[in-house]
């Protein structure tokens, strides 16, 4: 069955360091991979989308990589700040049909300490 795993439930790092979150998947061939941020009591908010034929995507302090051979995506936040503390979710879909659904990983809770 399709499975998405995010490397750890929680990650604690020092302010200013780079946070790296991992998303691995099995039994799936996604055409797109997305990353979302979720704050307590709120719905997830879209951050970045990367296609299967793209190796890397950047947006300000965020960087996403997508390796379809390793079946893995890495999500980096450089120069991390306490305001980056949240849960980060990866999401996959094959996108080849308008009928394809989007499925999510369980999330990684990131805490940035001052």
């Amino acid at each position: 069955s399709q499975k998405i795993e995010q490397n750890s439930e929680a990650l604690n790092i020092q302010e200013g360091k780079t946070a790296t979150l991992t998303c691995n998947y099995t039994n799936y061939s996604p055409a797109y991979l997305q990353w979302y941020r979720q704050d307590p009591g709120r719905g997830p908010v879209f951050l970045l989308l990367i296609r299967e034929n793209e190796k890397e995507k950047r947006k300000e302090r965020l960087k996403v990589t997508f390796d379809t051979t390793l079946k893995q995506s890495l999500f980096h936040i450089t120069a991390s700040q306490p305001a980056d503390s949240a849960t980060y979710l990866c999401a996959l879909d094959n996108g080849y049909s308008s009928a394809s659904k989007i499925i999510f990983g369980s999330g990684t809770r990131l805490s940035i300490r001052p």
């Binding site: 055409a31 997305q34 719905g43 997830p44 296609r51 049909s97 989007i102 999330g107």
Partner: protein
């Protein structure tokens, strides 16, 4: 310019009762999703509507769960004979959907309905 709206924001119900959760998507969004999120967990896919196509109901956990989308807009998720294990946050999301060959539109989420079954 409103986002996705869900109501109620909180619902407490007794075991065995039926509940209806409502989602108002962003105007013009053809795709609508329902997910369930238990405490500290990820998002569990429930059902997906895309335009006039038959919905993908593959994530509904039992026949007590059903959903409708009227006129391609508002959606209602109904849970019959609620059980304690149904307690969770139910999230709705909408998007412009996907057209073959074009980039997948991201999801816009509401803030969810927190359902508590006592």
């Amino acid at each position: 310019g409103a986002g996705v709206s869900q109501s109620p924001s909180n619902k407490v119900t007794e075991k065995g009762k039926d509940v209806e959760l409502r989602c108002d998507p962003i105007s013009g969004h053809t795709a609508l999703y329902w997910y369930r999120q238990s405490l500290g967990q990820g998002l569990e896919f429930l059902i997906y509507f895309q335009g006039n196509s038959a919905p993908d109901k593959s994530g509904l956990p039992s026949d007590r769960f059903s959903a409708e989308r009227t006129g391609g807009s508002v959606s209602t998720l109904t849970i019959q004979r609620t059980q304690q294990e149904d307690s969770a946050v139910y999230l709705c999301a909408s998007s412009l959907g996907s057209i073959r060959g074009l980039v997948r539109s991201p999801l816009h989420f509401g803030n969810g309905t927190r359902l508590t079954v006592t």
